[in-house]
C-alpha cells in the first residue's frame, strides 16, 4: 500500500495544507495541482514580461520550507507547478532546496510549434463550435497538450525527490506514483482507470474531505483545520480515501460522491490521455471513521487523440458595484442600472455585452432564486465586456457618480473605480499523439 496525498487543489489554495500533510502523519507522495485552464495564459504573460517567470511562484518557496521534512520522511512531490516554464521552476526549487533532486517533464508546451502543426494539417478546430484555430492565430497566448501519467512515471524513475511538470492532467499527479510503484502497464485499463478516479477524487484538495460539501455541512467539524485528502492505494486498483487523524473536515460516502460528480460529463466515459474511466462502475463502502473504500472500477483503452489547451486574447472586461439600502432597494438598484446603461449609450461606447446582477436578490440562481420581499439591501453589480479597451475604461468611471446623482441611499463604493481586466478565452482542441514528444530532464 502507498499513501498519496493532495495538498493543493488550485493555485491559490491553502498554503498550510501541504505542510500539514507532510507533518501530520505518514504519506509517501504529495501531489500538488496548480493549473487551471486559465492559469496557463496568466503564466504565459508573466513569462513574456520576464523569461525567468511563467510557473506557480508559490511552489519553490514551499519546497524550500519543507525540504528537510521531505528528506527525513521520504516524501516525494509531484506537481504541475511548472506552468509554461518548468525549467525555471526547477532551477528556483534547486536554489531554495539544493539537497533535493528535481526532475522536470517537458514537451507539453507547443506554443512555439503552432504554425508547424497547422502546416502539417492539424487544424485544432474548436471542440465546441468547430471553428478553425487560424481564426484566432494572432491572439493566442498559450498552447499546451494535456499529457498523462506516463511521462511523470519516467520522472519518478530517475529517483527525483521533486517532479515538476507543466500541463499534465490533474488526475495524472496521483496516478503516476501508483504506476511507478505497482508496475502497472500502459494497457492495464481497469487499474489505470482506478488510479485516475482516485486522482479525480483528490484533485480538488479538501473538496472531497468536507469542503464545499452540501450534505450536512453544518455538522462538518473544524473547517479551520480541515484535513486534505490521502489515497491509500493498493496494487489491485482498490483504494481508500482518508485524511490524517485529528484534522478537521470529514470523509464519508457523501463527501466522496459529491467530488466524484464534480465537473463530470458522460460518467461512462471520463477521458484522459491514459485511459477512459467508467464512473458507473465505482463501488463505495465505509471503512471506518473518515475512511471510504473504492473498488470495482472499469476502464477502457486510452483515446487516440490528445486534448490541447489553448488560450487567446478576447478583449477587456470590468465589473463595478454599488449598494442600495432598504426601503425599495431593488427598485433603486434597477433605477441606477437604467441610468448607467443610458449614459453608456449616450457616450456611444461599444461593448459585446452588458450584464447586470442584483446581489442579495437573485444573482446566483436567477429564475430559480426564492422570492424575497423588499430585502434590507441589494448590491447592483454591472459588468461589461468588449474588444475596445477605452470603452471598458470609460465604463469604470460611470458608477461612482450615481452616489450623489442617482436614487437615494447609495453606498458601498469605498473601493473606488473597478479595474479593467483582460479577457483570456479558452480554445479546446484535439491533437494527434505523434505531435507531442515528452522528455525528462534531471537537476541533481
Amino acid at each position: 500500500m502507498i499513501r498519496i496525498a493532495n495538498g493543493q487543489g488550485f493555485w491559490g489554495d491553502w498554503l498550510e495544507a501541504p505542510v500539514r500533510l507532510i507533518e501530520g502523519g505518514p504519506i509517501d507522495y504529495l501531489a500538488l495541482d496548480y493549473l487551471a485552464e486559465i492559469t496557463m495564459s496568466i503564466l504565459q504573460k508573466q513569462k513574456q514580461a520576464d523569461p525567468r517567470l511563467g510557473y506557480a511562484r508559490d511552489f519553490p518557496p514551499l519546497i524550500g520550507r519543507v525540504a528537510r521534512q521531505l528528506r527525513d520522511r521520504g516524501v516525494r512531490v509531484i506537481a504541475n507547478a511548472g506552468g509554461v516554464n518548468p525549467v525555471a521552476c526547477a532551477e528556483e526549487v534547486k536554489r531554495l532546496a539544493p539537497a533535493l533532486k528535481v526532475a522536470v517533464v517537458l514537451g507539453d508546451d507547443f506554443y512555439d510549434r503552432i504554425d508547424e502543426f497547422l502546416a502539417r494539417g492539424w487544424e485544432m478546430r474548436n471542440m465546441d463550435n468547430g471553428a478553425p484555430l487560424s481564426m484566432i492565430r494572432k491572439r493566442i497566448l498559450s498552447a499546451n497538450a494535456y499529457i498523462g501519467a506516463f511521462p511523470l512515471v519516467e520522472a519518478l524513475a530517475t529517483g527525483a525527490d521533486i517532479v515538476v511538470a507543466g500541463r499534465c492532467t490533474d488526475t495524472a499527479l496521483a496516478l503516476a506514483p501508483m504506476i511507478h510503484r505497482f508496475g502497472w502497464k500502459p494497457d492495464d485499463w481497469n487499474l489505470l482507470a482506478a488510479g485516475t478516479i482516485a486522482g479525480h477524487i483528490v484533485e480538488c484538495g479538501a473538496q472531497c474531505t468536507g469542503g464545499n460539501c452540501i450534505a450536512d455541512w453544518q455538522t462538518i467539524p473544524d473547517f479551520a483545520n480541515i484535513g486534505y485528502p490521502i489515497i491509500e492505494a493498493e496494487p489491485d486498483g482498490t483504494f481508500v480515501i482518508t485524511k490524517h487523524r485529528g484534522t478537521g473536515g470529514r470523509v464519508s460516502q457523501d463527501t466522496v460522491k459529491e467530488q466524484l460528480l464534480y465537473e463530470l460529463g458522460d460518467p461512462e466515459s471520463y477521458i484522459t490521455p491514459d485511459c477512459v474511466a467508467d464512473f458507473t462502475s465505482i463501488r463505495l463502502s465505509d471503512d471506518g471513521p473518515d475512511r471510504v473504500r473504492v473498488s470495482g472500477v472499469h476502464g477502457r483503452p486510452r483515446p487516440e487523440l490528445l486534448k490541447a489547451s489553448i488560450s487567446y486574447e478576447h478583449g477587456w472586461k470590468a465589473a463595478g458595484s454599488i449598494v442600495y439600502s432598504w426601503p425599495d432597494a431593488v427598485a433603486k438598484a434597477r433605477c441606477a442600472d437604467r441610468i448607467i446603461r443610458e449614459r453608456l449609450a449616450q457616450l456611444g461606447l461599444r461593448f459585446d455585452e452588458i450584464h447586470s446582477d442584483l446581489l442579495g436578490l437573485n444573482a446566483c440562481h436567477g429564475p430559480a432564486a426564492p422570492r424575497v420581499q423588499d430585502p434590507p439591501e441589494v448590491q447592483l453589480r454591472i459588468a461589461v465586456r468588449g474588444e475596445d479597451r477605452s470603452s471598458v475604461e470609460r465604463f469604470t468611471r460611470e458608477i461612482a457618480p450615481l452616489v450623489l446623482a442617482g436614487p437615494p441611499t447609495a453606498t458601498g463604493f469605498g473601493e473606488g473605480r473597478p479595474p479593467v481586466r483582460e479577457v483570456v478565452a479558452y480554445w479546446p482542441a484535439l491533437l494527434p499523439r505523434e505531435a507531442i514528444q515528452t522528455r525528462v530532464e534531471v537537476f541533481e
Binding site: 461512462e268 478576447h314 465589473a319 455585452e353 440562481h365 429564475p367 430559480a368 461589461v384 479558452y426
Partner: protein, 110 residues
C-alpha cells in the same frame, strides 16, 4: 405531497466552458428511483428558466444513487468570458435542490 429536492438529495455543480454540470445525489440509496422519476431534464430546464439557453442532458449513476446533468449554454459564455457572478456554476447545485418534487409517504419509506 410536494417537497423540495433538498429533502432527499445533495448536489455538487461545476463547469466546462459554457456547460454547467450538476450532480444530484440521493442521501438514501433507496430514494434513487424518486430522483429518476422526478428530476427529469425537462423539469430541470424549466426550473432554471432562462439561465439555461441550451439543452439539458441527464446521465444516470445508479451505483452512486446519483444523476448527472449537463446544462448547455448555461454560464453566460462560460469561464472567463461570462460576466455573471457565478460564471462557473458553483451554486447551480443548490439552485436545483430548491426544485419541488412530488412524492408520497410510500416513496420516502423506500
Amino acid at each position: 405531497m410536494k417537497i423540495p429536492l433538498s429533502r432527499i438529495a445533495h448536489a455538487r455543480s461545476g463547469d466546462k466552458g459554457d456547460t454547467a454540470n450538476v450532480g444530484v445525489i440521493a442521501y438514501d440509496q433507496r430514494h434513487y428511483p424518486i430522483l429518476v422519476r422526478e428530476v427529469t431534464p425537462e423539469r430541470v430546464k424549466r426550473h432554471l428558466g432562462d439561465y439555461v439557453k441550451g439543452k439539458v442532458v441527464r446521465y444516470e449513476l445508479p451505483n452512486l444513487g446519483a444523476l448527472n446533468f449537463l446544462l448547455y449554454e448555461a454560464l453566460g459564455g462560460g469561464g472567463t468570458i461570462s460576466l455573471r457572478i457565478d460564471a462557473q456554476g458553483k451554486t447551480y447545485g443548490a439552485a436545483l435542490l430548491g426544485m419541488e418534487i412530488d412524492v408520497d409517504e410510500r416513496d420516502l419509506a423506500g
